[in-house]
C-alpha cells in the first residue's frame, strides 16, 4: 500500500498533488509539500543510509537542516549531489535519490563488518592503527580508508547549472521567520526601516508549522502565512525563503545561500540553481530558533529513533505517522507534546519515559487524561532491533538495573533538551555562555550589531518568543535610526507552558554491557570515544574535537556538540562551563563551492581585455597568449600545420628584412599635465627629464624604494606642461598607483595631474627597414630622417584618421609607433596593411617581438624580476647621481654594488640546432649532472635567432659582465638536459644602434 503511514488529514501538504519519486531504484509517491524524508516515512521507509565509520544502518533523526544521518545522493548524472540532507530536500516530480556509503545494497552492506571491528576504530584510530610502516600511509592506508569511510560520490561531469551572487543593504536583518522572527520583522517593518527576513524553509512560520499552537486567535501556521503575506506586500521588506544565513563576518557583513531552484527538477531558464547573498545590515536580529539534542543511550542510532520535535513535525506538518507504537523519552517538559500530538494522530504511545523523578503535575495529568502511561525516574538504557528499532530497555537513572523493562515499539521519540542556535552569535566574534536553567549555551555579550531573541536567546515559550521578537524588531529599527511609535501591538498566543529540564547526559546501560552510545552520529563518535580521548589526555574541547572528529562532519555537530561537552565535563568531574565550548565557524550549513565562485568559472574566471585589433587578429586565426587580463596575438599561422616556430621565425624575418606591424595597444599609457610635470618625472625616473624638448621621447627607468628596477618605458613631451608616459603591459596599473601615491602623499606640493589613457589609444608598431616607405604613403607629416629623427614625436593624420606618431623601436629596426583613437584602431591597422601590400607588409605577434628584443638585448619582465638593480641590468649609466630620485639611496647600498651580483648577459648556444631553456641554471661546465655544483645564475629568456642562425638567450649570471667569451653549462635537471653555451654581450645585433637611427 502506498503511503500507509500518512494521516487522513492535516499538515501542510497538498493531498491533491501526488508526486512520484525514486529512492534506491524503487518508486514511491508523496505529496507536494513533503520533504524526501517525510515522503519516505509516509511509505514506511526508515532506513536511509549507512554510517560513516561502522556502516551501521541509519534513519531519520530530525526534520531540519541539523540532520546528521539521513544524507543521500540527490539526482543523477551531472547534477548528482552527494551528502544531501533528506530532511531538507523538497519533493519534486521525478526526484531520484540514492543511499550512499553502502555496497552492494543498503540492506546488506559488506562494510558493516566494521561494526564488529569497532574496537580497532576507536578515537584517534587513524593515528594509532596506521602508524607503520610509514610508506604505507599514502600508498595503502589512505586509499583504503577513503574508500571505506566515504560520504557518497560527487559527479565528475561539469555542473550544467550556474550560480550567482547578490548584494543587499538593509537597516534590520532578521534571521529566521519563526514566531520570533515574524514578530520582529513586523515590528521593524512598521517603523519604515528596510527589513530583510530570511528563512531556510520554503514556508515562513518556523516551529509554528510543526506545532499545534494558536497565535492571534488562529492556528499558528495560518498566522505565519498571513504575516508573511503582509510582509511581502510591504515595499520596505524583502522576505527570502529557502535562504539560510550561513556566515557572520566582520563589519556586520553576513552571507546567506538562497536555494533558488533546488526544489525543481532543473532550474528554469535564466535562473541560477543557488544564489549567494551578501547582506550589509545595520542591525541583525538572530531569531534562528533552537535545536533539540538527542538522548545518549545504547544503540540510539537505530532507524526509528528520532528527536521528539521531529516526530511532532512529521505528524503535524507533513501528516505522517513516523511509527505505530511509540515511546517518548525525555528529560524535560517539551517532549510531552510529542506524546499528545502522536496520540491525537492515532499513534499508540507505549509510554512516556521521563528521567526526572518528579515531572510537573499538569504534564502527568494531561497524559493521564489520555490514558498514556508515564514512567518517571527512568530512561531508555538501550534500544534493540536490527535495521529498525523494535524494543526499548528501560533502566533506572539511579544505579544499576537488574532487570530492565522491555517495551516493544517501532518509534522512539527522544528529547535531551534544547540548544539555542548560538552559531551566528559565535561566528560574529561573541562567546556564548552556559545557562544552568536550560542546561545549554545562550548568547553572551554581543561583539557586533546583533541580538538574539526567542529560542535562539534561550527563551522557548511561545508567548515569550513573540514578545522578545517584537521588542528586538523595534529596538533594532530604533538603533538604525527609525522611530517606533506606530509599532504593532503585542501578539497574543496561547500558553504552551514553561520549559524545565533536569540533566541526563548519558544513560546507564543495562547489564553494564558495552552498548554503542552515539554522540555524533554523522561521524560515528561514541560516548566511549569521548571518555577514551579524555583518558588519553585529549581533554580540552578543542583537542577532543580533533582527536575524535566530534562535530567535524557536515552537520558540524548541531545535535551532538553540547552532549559531547557535557560528557567530557562528567569525565573531568567539572561543570560544563569549565569545559567551555568550541568556536562556531561559517558555514552554518554545507554550501556548494560553486556558489562562492558564482559565474566566475571556466571562461569567465577572469574578465578578458581585448584590443581594438582583437577581432581582426581572431579572424586571421592568430594564436593568443594571456598577458595579465589581456589577450595578445602571439603568432599568426598562415597555413595548416604552421607551428609556433615556423610563424615567429617568418614574422621576425619579415620585420628584419622588410616591414611588419604589431599590436602594442596593451602598453600602459599615462597622461601627465601640469607646471610641475617635468619635476615629477625627474624624481620618478633615474635619468634626466628637465630638458626634454617638446616633440621628443626619452627612455626611462624607474626604481622601487628598495633600489630595484620597477619599470621602464618611454615618455614623450607633447607640450609645455604635457607628457605622455608608456609603461610595460604588466605594470600599467602598479606604475599609475605608485605615481598617484607619490603625488598625493609624498609630493603634494607638485602641481601635476595624472590619468591613464591606455584605453583611449590603439598602438601599432610599424617596424623594419621599409617602415618609413610604408608610412610615407599614409602619413601627412614629413617623416624623413631629418624632419623626424629617432625619438621624435608628433601629431599626424593617417589617411583621415587623427593620430600621434613616435619614432621609437623595440625591435632594433627602423621603427615607428602609431597611436590612433581606439575606435579607429582596426581601420588604421587594415589601411596600413592595404598600403603596405605592394611592399609585402607582414604582421607579427608577441613571440617574434620577444625574439627581436632578445636579439637587441632589451630587458623586459623576465629580467625586471624585482631583484635586479639598474647596475645588474647594465643600465646604471642612465642614472643621474646629482639629483634625487625614488630608490636612489637604497641603490647605493654596498650590498647592491658588491661584486658577485647577478648581471644580465647574452648567452649563445654552442650546439647547433639546440636552444637554451628558460629557467636553466648556469653552472661550471666541468661538473657532472647529479653532483653538487652551485648555480651561478639562470637563463631568463631564450629564442632561436633567425638573424644569427643559432639559439640565444638572456640570463642573469654572477659577475656576468666580466665574463664575456667564457663557456658555461646551462643545465635543466628536470629533463636531465645540459647545453654548452658562451657568455657574451647581451646585444646580439647592431650594437651601435645604427638601424634605429637610419
Amino acid at each position: 500500500m502506498s503511503q500507509q503511514y500518512r494521516t487522513g488529514s492535516g499538515g501542510q501538504i497538498d493531498r491533491k498533488k501526488p508526486i512520484r519519486f525514486t529512492f534506491d531504484g524503487k518508486s514511491y509517491s508523496g505529496y507536494a509539500g513533503d520533504t524526501l524524508a517525510s515522503a519516505l516515512l509516509a511509505n514506511g521507509v526508515h532506513l536511509l543510509g549507512r554510517s560513516f565509520k561502522y556502516h551501521r544502518p541509519r534513519g531519520i533523526q530530525t526534520a531540519g537542516s541539523e540532520e546528521p544521518n539521513a544524507i543521500v545522493e540527490l539526482r543523477e548524472g551531472a547534477r548528482k549531489e552527494p551528502n544531501t540532507r533528506a530532511t531538507c530536500i523538497e519533493l519534486f516530480d521525478g526526484l531520484v535519490a540514492n543511499s550512499q556509503n553502502r555496497w552492494p545494497s543498503l540492506a546488506f552492506d559488506v562494510m558493516a563488518v566494521n561494526n564488529l571491528f569497532s574496537p580497532l576504530l576507536s578515537a584517534g584510530f587513524y593515528y594509532k592503527t596506521f602508524m607503520w610502516p610509514v610508506s604505507f600511509w599514502t600508498n595503502v592506508y589512505e586509499h583504503v580508508i577513503r574508500r571505506a569511510a566515504g560520504l557518497g560520490t560527487a559527479s565528475t561531469a561539469a555542473d550544467p547549472d550556474f550560480y550567482e551572487q547578490c548584494h543587499e543593504h538593509c537597516d534590520v536583518l532578521i534571521v529566521g521567520a519563526g514566531p520570533t522572527g515574524l514578530a520582529a520583522a513586523l515590528a521593524a517593518a512598521e517603523t519604515g526601516a528596510r527589513v530583510v527576513l530570511v528563512d531556510e524553509n520554503p514556508l515562513a512560520g518556523g516551529s509554528l508549522n510543526s506545532e499545534n499552537h494558536e497565535v492571534a486567535g488562529m492556528p499558528g501556521d495560518d498566522w505565519a502565512a498571513q504575516v508573511a503575506a503582509q510582509l511581502q506586500s510591504m515595499e520596505n521588506v524583502h522576505l527570502l525563503l529557502r535562504t539560510t544565513l550561513f556566515g557572520y563576518y566582520d563589519h556586520n557583513v553576513v552571507a546567506a545561500i538562497e536555494k533558488v531552484s533546488d526544489h525543481l527538477p532543473v532550474p528554469p531558464k535564466g535562473h541560477p540553481r543557488q544564489r549567494m547573498w551578501t547582506f550589509y545590515p545595520r542591525r541583525v536580529v538572530i531569531a534562528a530558533g533552537a535545536t533539540e539534542r538527542p538522548l545518549v543511550f545504547g544503540n540510539n542510532d537505530k532507524p526509528g529513533i528520532m528527536l521528539a520535535s521531529a516526530a511532532r513535525a512529521y505528524v503535524n506538518r507533513y501528516g505522517v505517522k513516523p511509527g505505530r507504537r511509540a515511546i517518548v523519552a525525555t528529560n524535560n517538559n517539551d517532549a510531552y507534546r510529542t506524546a499528545l500530538d502522536l496520540h491525537r494522530a492515532g499513534v499508540t504511545i507505549a509510554a512516556v519515559v521521563d528521567s526526572r523523578a518528579h515531572p510537573e503535575a499538569p504534564l502527568a495529568a494531561e497524559l493521564a487524561k489520555h490514558s498514556i502511561r508515564l514512567i518517571t525516574g527512568r530512561t531508555i538504557g538501550a534500544a534493540e532491533g536490527r535495521q529498525h528499532v523494535t524494543r526499548a530497555l528501560i533502566v533506572s537513572t539511579q544505579g544499576e538495573t537488574i532487570d530492565p523493562e522491555r517495551i516493544d515499539c517501532d518509534l522512539i521519540a527522544c528529547s535531551g533538551g534544547w540548544n539555542p542556535n548560538v552559531h551566528l552569535h559565535s561566528q560574529s566574534g561573541a562567546k556564548p555562555v552556559y545557562d544552568d536553567a536550560i542546561l545549554s549555551f545562550v548568547p553572551g555579550q554581543s561583539r557586533q550589531a546583533e541580538v538574539s531573541a526567542g529560542a535562539a536567546g534561550g527563551s522557548f515559550a511561545l508567548r515569550e518568543c513573540l514578545k522578545q521578537g517584537r521588542a528586538a524588531g523595534i529596538d533594532a529599527a530604533r538603533q538604525a535610526g527609525f522611530k517606533a511609535d506606530k509599532a504593532s501591538p503585542v501578539i497574543k498566543a496561547h500558553d504552551d507552558g514553561a520549559y524545565a529540564i533536569e540533566a541526563l547526559w548519558i544513560s546507564p546501560t543495562p547489564y553494564n554491557k558495552p552498548y554503542k552510545q552515539f554522540v555524533d552520529q554523522q561521524n560515528d563518535v561514541k560516548a566511549s570515544d569521548v571518555a577514551l580521548a579524555s583518558q588519553e589526555g585529549y581533554d580540552s574541547v578543542e583537542l577532543l574535537k580533533r582527536y575524535t572528529t566530534q562535530g567535524m562532519a557536515t552537520d558540524q555537530g548541531k545535535t551532538s556538540n553540547v552532549n559531547a561537552l557535557a560528557i567530557l565535563a562528567c569525565q573531568r568531574g567539572e561543570p560544563v562551563p569549565q569545559v567551555g565550548i568550541t568556536t562556531f565557524r561559517p558555514p552554518y550549513v554545507p554550501v556548494a563551492m560553486g556558489v562562492f565562485a558564482g559565474h566566475t568559472v571556466g571562461a569567465e574566471f577572469m574578465p578578458v581585455r581585448r584590443t581594438a585589433i582583437h577581432d581582426w587578429n581572431a579572424k586571421q586565426g592568430a594564436v593568443f597568449i594571456e598577458a595579465g587580463l589581456w589577450l595578445r596575438a602571439r603568432y599568426y599561422p598562415q597555413k595548416p600545420g604552421d607551428t609556433m616556430n615556423d610563424c615567429y621565425l617568418r614574422e621576425a624575418e619579415a620585420t628584419r628584412n622588410n616591414v611588419a606591424l604589431v599590436d602594442v595597444s596593451t602598453l600602459g599609457k599615462i597622461d601627465l599635465q601640469g607646471p610641475d610635470a617635468a619635476e615629477f618625472l625627474n624624481r620618478l625616473y633615474i635619468n634626466n627629464w628637465l630638458k626634454l624638448p617638446i616633440g621628443k621621447a626619452r627612455y626611462g627607468i624607474m626604481l622601487r624604494e628598495d633600489g630595484m628596477v620597477f619599470d621602464d618605458g618611454t615618455t614623450s613631451r607633447l607640450g609645455e606642461n604635457h607628457y605622455f608616459m608608456t609603461t610595460t603591459t604588466a605594470n600599467a596599473a602598479p606604475v599609475l598607483a605608485h605615481m598617484e601615491r607619490y603625488h598625493q602623499v609624498e609630493w603634494p606640493e607638485l602641481d601635476v595631474v595624472l590619468c591613464s589613457v591606455t584605453e583611449q589609444w590603439t598602438g601599432i608598431a610599424v617596424a623594419g627597414p621599409n617602415s618609413r616607405i610604408l608610412l610615407e604613403k599614409v602619413i601627412d607629416i614629413d617623416i624623413s630622417n631629418e624632419a623626424f629623427p629617432f625619438m621624435a614625436v608628433g601629431d599626424c593624420q593617417m589617411n583621415n584618421i587623427p593620430g600621434r606618431l613616435f619614432r621609437i623601436s623595440f625591435s632594433g629596426e627602423l621603427a615607428y609607433e602609431l597611436n590612433v583613437p581606439a575606435d579607429y584602431g582596426e581601420q588604421a591597422w587594415t589601411e596600413l596593411l592595404e598600403a603596405g601590400k605592394e611592399l609585402g607588409v607582414a604582421v607579427y605577434g608577441t613571440e617574434a617581438l620577444g625574439t627581436m628584443r632578445i636579439e637587441k638585448g632589451h630587458v623586459a619582465g623576465s629580467e625586471l624580476d624585482g631583484r635586479t638593480t639598474a647596475q645588474d641590468l647594465g643600465l646604471e649609466g642612465m642614472a643621474n647621481r646629482e639629483k634625487h630620485f625614488i630608490g636612489k639611496q637604497n641603490s647605493l647600498l654596498p650590498a647592491l654594488l658588491d661584486e658577485g651580483r647577478l648581471q644580465v648577459v647574452g648567452l649563445k648556444s654552442l650546439e647547433p640546432g639546440r636552444n637554451l631553456r628558460i629557467g636553466a641554471h648556469l653552472v661550471d661546465p666541468n661538473v657532472q649532472i647529479g653532483s653538487v655544483s652551485p648555480s651561478q645564475g639562470h637563463v631568463t629568456t631564450t629564442t632561436y635567432s633567425p638573424q644569427l642562425g643559432y639559439g640565444i638567450a638572456l640570463g642573469l649570471l654572477r659577475d656576468g659582465r666580466s665574463r664575456y667569451g667564457e663557456q658555461i653549462e646551462a643545465v635543466f635537471p628536470l629533463d636531465d638536459e645540459k647545453l654548452r653555451v658562451e657568455i657574451c654581450h647581451p646585444v646580439f645585433i647592431d650594437p651601435e644602434g645604427e638601424l634605429v637611427r637610419g
Binding site: 548584494h167 543593504h169 535564466g270 541560477p272 578578458v608 581594438a612 597622461d671 601640469g674 584605453e759 583613437p821
Partner: protein
C-alpha cells in the same frame, strides 16, 4: 592633433562590443540594456588650488552646474558631468544628439579650462551601457555591492566602484531606474556579458510583472 580636418564620411567609430550586437543587447519587458555608442567622454582634472575655478569654467562653458561634491552628476538631458575623483570630472555627451562635431566638446572644454587643469580625451577609451527598467536595480545587485536602493542612491548620483570584479562607474540617469555604466573599452565584452547574464532571469516576464 594635426590641423587637417578628418573626412567624416570615411571615419566610423567601431564599438568595442561585438559588431553584430544591435542597439539593444537586452530588451525584456522589465529590463533593457543598450550601448550608448560614439560618445564623447572628456576627463577634466583640475590643477592645485584651481578646483572651484575649473568647476565654474566648465559650468559656464556647458551651461550645467559642475558638481563639486563627491558622488554626484549633473545633466541637461544631453550632456552629463559626473564627479570622477577628488580633482576630476568626466563630461559625457553624444556628439550626434548635441549636434556637435567630433572633437568639438574636447576643444570647448580645453578653451574653457585652459590653465586651470588638464583636459584629456577618453572618448574611445570607455564603453557605456545603459541599463533601465523596473528590474534594473536587481540586475545591478548581482554585480555590485553599492547600495542602489532609492533611499540611498538616486538620479543625479554616481559611484566609482567595482561591477562584476571590473572597475566601473555607475551614473543614475532617472528613477525608472536608468543607469549609465562606464567601463574601460578593453573590458567591454566581459562587462556586457556579466550584465546580460544577470538580466536573463527576467527574460520571461511580462510588462505587468
Amino acid at each position: 592633433m594635426a590641423k587637417k580636418q578628418p573626412d567624416k564620411q570615411d571615419l566610423v567609430r567601431v564599438s568595442p562590443l561585438l559588431p553584430n550586437e544591435g542597439d539593444h543587447i537586452i530588451d525584456y519587458a522589465r529590463v533593457h540594456l543598450v550601448e550608448r555608442k560614439a560618445l564623447s567622454a572628456i576627463q577634466v582634472l583640475s590643477f592645485t588650488g584651481k578646483h572651484d575655478k575649473a568647476a565654474k569654467a566648465i559650468g559656464k562653458a556647458l551651461g550645467i552646474d559642475c558638481p563639486i561634491e563627491p558622488g554626484h552628476c549633473r545633466s541637461d538631458g544631453k550632456t552629463q558631468i559626473f564627479w570622477n575623483g577628488p580633482n576630476s570630472w568626466m563630461v559625457v555627451a553624444s556628439d550626434v544628439e548635441c549636434g556637435r562635431a567630433a572633437g568639438e566638446l574636447f576643444a570647448t572644454l580645453q578653451d574653457a579650462v585652459s590653465n586651470l587643469g588638464a583636459v584629456v580625451d577618453q572618448s574611445h577609451g570607455r564603453c557605456v551601457l545603459r541599463l533601465s527598467g523596473a528590474r534594473a536595480r536587481e540586475v545591478m545587485a548581482k554585480n555590485t555591492a553599492v547600495d542602489l536602493h532609492p533611499r540611498a542612491f538616486g538620479a543625479g548620483q554616481c559611484a566609482l566602484t567595482s561591477i562584476a570584479h571590473m572597475n566601473a562607474t555607475i551614473v543614475q540617469v532617472d528613477d525608472t531606474p536608468t543607469y549609465d555604466l562606464f567601463v574601460i573599452r578593453s573590458l567591454a565584452r566581459s562587462f556586457a556579458h556579466a550584465i546580460e547574464h544577470a538580466c536573463h532571469e527576467f527574460a520571461e516576464e511580462t510588462a505587468a510583472g
